[in-house]
């Protein structure tokens, strides 16, 4: 029997949320816990998940994740993005079934989260320059199930379009009050929220007069190695988007548009910050166990 002891609420709209979730599993009398929590209060709940069947010492009904639809993810080789030419694999990928190794993955429910990790404007003694924004949304799967207590990491350049990184030699100023990194955990509904400043556009060497549209890098783990996602969030109406080979690397137009956040009155804070909504959708679960992959991807 596997039980998840989870706190149902991590309210990171509060100035300093308390991280309160952990995992524990009882197997054959062994109590195994992941993470640690403080002050769960009255919001704890116990959620059961179906235990995998054991037959002859092997788990036989693990549920894998549904493969992505053709064209909704980038190909490795996308020549307009010049860096892909010498780094994309040239041989066909080898299709394999998802196994226990891919259906499990690292758990970060005990990561420390506080205002300094999700409010990028509060990491230094002064305030960063630029337009304050609130970026929030949900991490869900393709069946709209919330991805709970998963780690979300972001990084970005400053308002002038400069990253705090020695490789970035763009002649725009660094901001002593802006590092450009943050992390948080989703709550029981899969919600996350960051406060930051709107990143600037910046030039890059991909082609003549190339400029990246303003974007924020997102990294999400989800429940398994299989669901790992690194992506970028763009801003609605950015005139640079149609010219960006990284944005345009995905064939499916509707899939590309999922990378563009939406301006949102609900999360816009009067006199303070514009709100943008950005949802991240991870792979959904298969409905039958151990389904082998039927076809390889080129």
């Amino acid at each position: 029997m596997v039980q998840r002891d989870v706190c149902e609420e991590i309210d990171n709209t509060l100035p300093a949320p308390t991280l309160v979730c952990w995992w524990s599993t009882t197997i054959g009398g062994h109590q195994v816990s992941w993470g640690a929590g403080t002050a769960c209060g009255s919001t704890c709940a116990i959620v059961s998940i179906a235990p995998a069947k054991m037959e002859n010492g092997f788990m036989t009904n693990l549920m894998g994740f549904r493969r992505f639809r053709p064209g909704t993810q980038p190909e490795y080789l996308h020549p307009p993005y010049v860096s892909s030419v010498k780094r994309a694999p040239t041989k066909a990928l080898v299709a394999i079934p998802q196994t226990l190794s891919e259906i499990t993955g690292p758990m970060f429910g005990s990561e420390r989260v506080d205002v300094k990790t999700f409010d990028l404007t509060k990491q230094h003694s002064g305030e960063p320059l630029g337009e304050r924004i609130v970026v929030s949304g949900r991490v869900i799967d393709e069946d709209e199930k919330p991805v709970r207590h998963t780690l979300v990491e972001i990084w970005q350049c400053n308002a002038a379009g400069r990253y705090l990184h020695n490789v970035d030699q763009h002649n725009a100023p660094l901001d002593p009050n802006f590092t450009g990194c943050g992390h948080t955990l989703t709550d029981a509904e899969g919600r996350y929220r960051f406060v930051t400043i709107r990143p600037g556009a910046y030039p890059w060497a991909n082609h003549y007069n190339a400029w990246r549209p303003a974007h924020i890098h997102f990294s999400v783990f989800g429940p398994a190695f299989a669901t790992r996602l690194v992506t970028q969030m763009y801003f609605p109406g950015d005139p640079l988007i149609p010219f960006d080979p990284i944005f345009n690397c995905t064939a499916d137009e509707a899939a590309r548009q999922r990378l563009v956040s939406a301006f949102d009155w609900e999360t816009t804070r009067p006199e303070q910050a514009l709100g943008f909504q950005f949802n991240l959708v991870l792979a959904g679960r298969e409905e039958t166990p151990w389904e082998p992959l039927r076809a390889g991807r080129k």
């Binding site: 860096s83 030419v85 780094r87 190794s101 393709e142 709209e144 992959l293």
Partner: protein, 190 residues
Amino acid sequence: MSFRATPSQTVGPYFVIGCNRLETNELAGPGVSGERIEIRGRVIDGDGIGVPDAMLEVWQANGAGKYAHPEDTQDKAIEPGFRGFGRIPTDEKGGFRFSTIKPGPVPGPDGKAQAPHIVVSVFMRGLLRRLVTRIYFPDDPANQEDPVLRYVEAERRTTLIAKKAGVTGGLEWNVVLQGEHETVFFDIGL
């Protein structure tokens, strides 16, 4: 209502800003039992040049073959502090190293155990989505029967099997992105 998955995008050259907090190349603390190993290697691009801005993420079971994850319901213990996750950036010459314990065999499909292995995600500027591969171990008789290696042409399997190198427990395993000795990368459907 069915939602559609968000497309991947490259990590770009500046992932260290957001990712260095979880960087670690020591996966198994002193309280973790198992055979101590150190894996070193390089990430090499299509010109044979080391990739200075790559990031590996590795995921493995403990020495008994159990993952620190609630969906691994095998009746085996996990040592406190063992997570089985490592995030390792490459250095300026494309090199990386990490220390861990050799994972035990974990269950595979069709009731067959898998040979001991570590699963790996490779991220870098130029990769619009991660690459997925595995590290297997030299001279392990279980490699012959491994249900995943079976999908790989025999002559390419060597790209997935680390080589003994240097002192006891030292292993070499490289990520070759292109060419004759290109590492086998997997399609897991995602």
